[in-house]
């Protein structure tokens, strides 16, 4: 178990205050934050390359913040990989075992397994300069895992790769993690990456932890506007609590004169009458209702009529820009391509949109 407590780093214009991260053994944990938020500084501090202003770091029972990097048993894969160019792939891979004077015999089977999972058996005699981008990533990962570190640090492992290689490495990381379960902390700015691979996610914005949680919690239930915006939340509106229906376990929110019925469970806080909050509508959970089709009871609460202002073909889905007739609230709805065609949606058409419970979330 990795425990980082109160890590504070002041460096040039960066200020990271009171960072706390807990990582369970075998967990793939993500530190997610916008580009330029000092994530690499955090990694360097955890590794011991940079002395943090304050903070304590435990690796299991061992407190390591005063130890030099070589005694922390933390492996590091930097963004640029830094494969040793003068050493063959094999020597790169065994570097950690040799540097720590470990008994190579005891690691042979493990390394062979890793080589097999990584499919780099045919590359062992090559120099890094003769490897492709994806192969370099695989070798760098293997080199880091070689000495069985207590913690694996990954700095933006999927950045700068072509889409096809990115997908390949992403799946490889998943396989690798499920087979060997290294405790991993990965920093990235890419939420999809974190969502695909991560067990737990810590969101760090402007040098502060904004939210910690399981990936679904973070994605579906952002705690603050900052987090929602960072996660690319599109439809975010100022709202006011207009009424409480305690018997029905729901509240009524008003946005621009339009009323939304919100189950209480969709807010982290009790919503007192008159409180100002933000309503977040998830674009991929909104349904456009087919004309003449019966509507399920569960959808009936929040159905709005409106006009389609614009549609954009995003390749994998369509983005529909919708404006309610009453209240003139605009929101984006993303619709799968087949549904888009079946619904015969076009600019100017009047349709009804149903906001399912899953599409709504209330943020302070």
């Amino acid at each position: 178990m990795i425990n980082i407590q109160g890590l504070t780093i002041l460096f040039e214009s960066f200020k990271i205050t009171d960072l706390n991260i807990n990582i369970e053994e075998g967990e793939f944990h993500f530190l997610l934050g916008p580009t330029g938020s000092g994530k690499t500084l955090i990694l360097e501090s955890i590794m011991g390359l940079r002395k943090p202003h304050k903070g304590r770091i435990w690796i299991g029972e061992k407190e390591v913040q005063n130890l030099p990097p070589e005694q922390r048993e933390i492996s590091y894969v930097p963004q640029d990989l830094a494969l040793f160019p003068h050493l063959r792939v094999k020597e790169n891979v065994l570097y950690g075992i040799r540097a720590r004077n470990l008994n190579l015999k005891l690691y042979e089977k493990y390394i062979d397994d890793l080589i097999e999972v990584m499919r780099i058996g045919h590359l062992l005699e090559r120099y890094p300069v003769n490897l492709s981008g994806g192969e370099k990533k695989r070798v760098a990962l293997l080199r880091a895992l070689g000495p069985k570190p207590k913690l694996l640090l990954l700095d933006e492992p999927l950045s700068g790769l072509d889409l096809s290689i990115k997908t390949e490495i992403q799946h490889l990381l998943k396989t690798l993690h499920s087979s060997f379960r290294p405790t991993t902390l990965c920093v990235t700015h890419d939420f999809e990456e974190a969502y695909f691979l991560g067990d737990g996610i810590t969101i760090c914005i402007d040098g502060r932890v904004e939210q910690v949680g399981r990936r679904n919690d973070v994605f579906r239930r952002p705690k603050s506007r900052k987090v929602a915006q960072f996660l690319g939340a599109k439809n975010l509106y100022k709202a006011k609590v207009l009424g409480r229906e305690d018997s029905l376990q729901r509240v009524i929110l008003g946005v621009n004169g339009l009323q939304f019925y919100i189950p209480k469970s969709l807010s982290q806080e009790t919503l007192e009458l008159g409180t100002e909050v933000h309503l977040f509508i998830r674009p991929e959970e909104v349904m456009i209702i087919r004309e003449g089709k019966p509507v399920k009871d569960s959808l009936k609460q929040n159905i709005f009529e409106g006009k389609i202002l614009d549609t954009i073909d995003r390749g994998r889905y369509h983005m529909v820009y919708f404006e309610t007739t009453e209240g003139k609230i605009r929101f984006e709805i993303s619709i799968p391509n087949y549904a888009f065609r079946n619904l015969h949606l076009s600019i100017g058409k009047t349709v009804k949109a149903a906001l399912r419970e899953e599409s709504l979330w209330v943020i302070p």
Partner: protein, 258 residues
């Protein structure tokens, strides 16, 4: 005028300028005095002295310069900028002034103490080494720093995380990666030491058979109108110079690393 040809023409001018200068020396080659000068024991002595002194001075410059270069390249510490600026002192200061400063220093109580305790510098061979060291240490450090700067500190970071001590990471990773650049720096510094004149002559004097290096011998030969002897010595210096350049060319071929 064509842009490309103008630029290349300028480059050719420099080449012809230096080549002409060297070729003009051969106008006097082959006379009786020429061969006599070449076989002269004093000439052979100054060649040997130049090579040995320059090699020792270069060794000292590397021993102190390499760690300094590393410190300047990798660490932040108070006074770093000032230290970095001071490396240029020997370039800014006239070599004569540098040598004269040593003479002054060895007349201070500390300087006298050092000389009285065994090592004589003034008008002695150690003075040559000291003068050459003084004029190349800054340059050697600067050049080696440039070579180390080219190697990303990330390599060492990774090596440290994999369990290497800072020494091991330096010797096993950074040193081999920057080796060619470091070697070129050393060779260039050595060549500069061989050619050093001003500081050497001021501190160690110009005694044939004792402290007369090749550049000093050139000066005394010209001063006493022994043109042929001067030319022999100049050609020897040119030969050293060209060999050095060739050596740097050889080391200049970098591994196909990144």
């Amino acid at each position: 005028m064509n842009f490309r040809y103008t630029m290349i023409g300028a480059a050719l001018c420099i080449f012809i300028f230096y080549l002409g200068l060297i070729l003009s020396l051969f106008y006097f080659v082959g006379g009786k005095g020429f061969w006599e000068a070449l076989a002269n024991p004093y000439t052979l002595f100054s060649i040997r002295l130049s090579l040995i002194a320059a090699t020792i001075a270069t060794c000292f410059a590397v021993i102190i310069g390499l760690p300094s270069a590393y410190a300047l390249s990798r660490f932040e510490f108070p006074g770093k900028r000032i230290l970095d600026t001071f490396l240029e002192i020997p370039i800014i200061m006239s070599p004569i002034a540098l040598g004269a400063s040593f003479l002054v220093f060895f007349n201070t109580p500390l300087g006298e103490f050092i000389q009285n305790k065994g090592i004589f510098f003034v008008f002695e061979v150690p003075g040559i080494i000291l003068a050459q060291f003084a004029s190349i240490a800054g340059l050697a450090t600067r050049l080696m720093k440039a070579s180390l700067d080219e190697i990303s500190p990330r390599y060492e970071a990774v090596a440290r995380s994999l369990g290497s001590s800072p020494w091991k990471a330096f010797c096993g990773i950074t040193l081999p990666l920057s080796f060619k650049g470091l070697l070129a720096s050393v060779v260039l510094s050595w060549a500069k030491a061989v050619g050093e004149f001003g500081a050497t002559v001021t501190l160690a004097g110009a005694m044939p058979g004792k402290t007369e290096t090749v550049p000093i011998a050139v000066f005394t030969a010209i001063a006493s109108a022994k043109i042929e002897k001067a030319i022999v010595l100049i050609l020897i210096l040119v030969a050293f110079g060209l060999l050095t350049l060739y050596a740097i060319r050889l080391t200049g071929k970098r591994y196909r690393y990144d």
